[in-house]
């Protein structure tokens, strides 16, 4: 009797193939987040995949119904925590749209700087992690110091690094200091070389191309039907970008291109993200130039004049009656929000991040719904991975830029 015959004993009457069920996750080193995939495997090939989400659901929408607007900002940090400033700005601009606040240009440009930095750090993580999953750890470690530099810039502006809660309704909590601008200059000067080297490591790397090309691909039509947005949709060839289609925060003042792919596979997603980083760099340069054009008192503008919603400076709170009243009203959440219904979206790190806010005139939102891009496009995962190898499923997962915090809200 041969070894193979000893090893596999199929029950009577069964057909020759047996499949294995494999639980990938909820906590697995290769899933980069808390989500589970129940894979049905035939050897190493995936026959069927079922995704389970919700392991870190924190009921943000329910909590938001009981909080004044400014206290919802920290909740948005915890959606896509790889680019929390974009979420923060998205939330502030949503509130400003509801309240009808006009934002000074300089504040808009400062916001653009922050958002594009966040986009770079988001794409950087995603792309370098795709590299890690294909077996190339160097790129990941190498670019990490520039994410660190981005986090240092956040730190100069708001004091925190990951869950930033950056800015306020109406603008920023304080003006950008000199160190922040120096660090931004350093970033603009040094990062292009790093990105070029990063691309050299991967873009034409034979092993990387073999591992990613034709893996996890999706057509443009299917991607649209599945509600794809952001780089994943653009990799499938659809040039939809919220920054261009519904400009917010003065994005219409900037010149940039929308890179698109063709096949929607992991390789195209990688290239699109890389190209977007170049575009973000160009936007950053333009925005920094525009910010520098403000001189004299204009250069001190960092928030709109909306005392009802913008927390006053502490020295005013101690010396001025109005400031004290507003400080108290805002902190205690005693400001009535005008009734209204608004949908506003921003181009997040991984797609269209939408906020659907309904106010009935009370002090907290009547209903707040987050349109979380990766919750919506993760549905396509089983279609993307069916028939591929187990190791391809891992790369597909990381190249989709799935963030468990955003998925589960």
């Amino acid at each position: 009797m041969s070894l193979a015959e000893l090893h596999v004993k199929l029950p009577e009457g069964s057909i020759e193939k047996q499949t294995t069920t494999l639980n990938l996750g909820p906590t697995h080193p290769a899933t980069h987040g808390v989500f589970q995939n129940i894979l049905e495997l035939d050897g190493e090939r995936i026959v069927n995949a079922e995704q389970t989400v919700g392991y870190i659901h924190r009921a943000f929408e329910k909590i938001a119904e009981h909080r004044p607007l400014y206290q919802i900002t920290p909740l948005t940090d915890r959606l896509n925590y790889c680019s929390s400033p974009i979420n923060n700005m998205g939330w502030h601009t949503t509130c400003e749209k509801l309240l009808g606040i006009k934002i000074p240009k300089r504040v808009d440009y400062l916001r653009v700087i922050i958002m594009e930095l966040a986009r770079i750090s988001d794409h950087l993580i995603c792309n370098s992690v795709v590299g890690v999953d294909t077996g190339a750890f160097t790129g990941f470690l190498y670019v990490m110091q520039y994410r660190e530099l981005i986090y240092e810039i956040y730190e100069e502006i708001c004091g925190s690094r990951l869950t930033t809660s950056i800015g306020r309704i109406g603008g920023f909590e304080r003006n950008f200091n000199d160190i922040a601008f120096r660090k931004l200059e350093k970033f603009l000067k040094e990062y292009p070389d790093v990105l070029r080297e990063f691309e050299k490591l991967f873009s034409r790397n034979r092993i990387f191309m073999d591992r990613t090309q034709g893996v996890g691909g999706i057509s443009g039509d299917r991607a649209l039907n599945y509600g794809f947005t952001g780089p994943n949709l653009r990799a499938a060839g659809i040039d939809y970008d919220v920054r261009v289609h519904s400009p917010y925060s003065s994005y219409e003042d900037f010149t940039f291109e929308i890179p698109v792919g063709k096949t929607g596979d992991c390789y195209d997603r990688f290239l699109v993200r890389n190209q977007e980083m170049w575009q973000s760099l160009s936007i950053l340069e333009q925005a920094y130039k525009k910010v520098q054009e403000f001189k004299g008192t204009d250069a001190d503008v960092f928030h709109a004049d909306v005392p009802e919603y913008y927390l006053p400076e502490k020295k005013d709170v101690y010396t001025k009656m109005e400031a004290l009243i507003y400080h108290f009203k805002i902190i205690m959440g005693e400001t009535e929000i005008p009734a209204g219904e608004v949908y506003h979206s921003v181009e997040g790190g991984n797609g269209e991040l939408g906020f659907y806010l309904i106010s009935d005139g009370g002090r907290s939102p009547y209903r707040l719904h987050f349109r979380r891009p990766c919750f919506i496009y993760y549905q396509a995962y089983s279609e993307l991975t069916k028939g591929s190898m187990l190791s391809d499923a891992i790369i597909t997962m990381s190249s989709l830029n799935l963030i468990a915090g955003e998925m589960d809200a």
Binding site: K97, L224, Y226, G227, E352, H369, Y377, Y378
Partner: protein, 174 residues
């Protein structure tokens, strides 16, 4: 020639007459309501019509209005025409005792999980959904937590055993 809100509403009312009502434009976003039995027909019409082409489902969620007798739950669709770059908001209302609404999964794959989420939190029963079960909450949950009758936990409650999380229990200052 870009598609305007007026053109959309004329086109819709030509087709559905006064079954399209509550037409508003809050913050420039065309919003309208239809009878809940019509939701699929309206969505399909918006999807297929040659001038409208609302083929992207941006968002789907529910809202609970406990005071509106018979129309307690609203299901809200945000649709996007990516060619003319127009967004619309479409609502249907249903009562909370018998919250049956037709599923949009046959038109949009993306509706699958969004409807599951809506079911999970509001209990809207999407008829014809291929896999309508809870998605973010535990399967054993027997209520729909986002409805307004469920308040958040009282922050001052003291009866809860939070020892494992460093609050309350032995050695606590309370």
């Amino acid at each position: 020639m870009a598609l305007t809100n007026d053109q959309i509403i004329i086109r819709l009312q030509d087709k559905f007459g006064d079954q399209i009502y509550n037409v508003e434009q809050p913050y420039g976003l065309l919003t309208f309501t239809a009878n809940k039995d019509l939701n699929l027909k309206v969505l399909q019409f918006l999807y297929n019509d040659e001038t409208l082409k609302f083929q992207f489902l941006t968002d789907l969620c529910a809202v609970h209005y406990p005071e509106q007798a018979g129309e307690e739950l609203a299901v809200v669709y945000h649709l996007h025409n990516l060619i003319d770059n127009v967004r619309i908001r479409f609502k249907v209302y249903t009562n909370s005792n018998n919250p049956d609404v037709f599923t949009a999964t046959n038109i949009f794959e993306s509706a699958n999980w969004m409807e599951r989420e809506t079911y999970d939190f509001y209990g809207v029963n999407f008829i014809g959904h291929p896999n309508l079960k809870r998605i973010l909450n535990v399967d054993e949950m027997d209520y729909f937590p986002m409805r307004k009758e469920f308040p958040l936990e009282d922050q001052t409650r003291t009866d809860k055993d939070d020892e494992m999380f460093g609050r309350g229990g032995i050695g606590s200052i309370n």
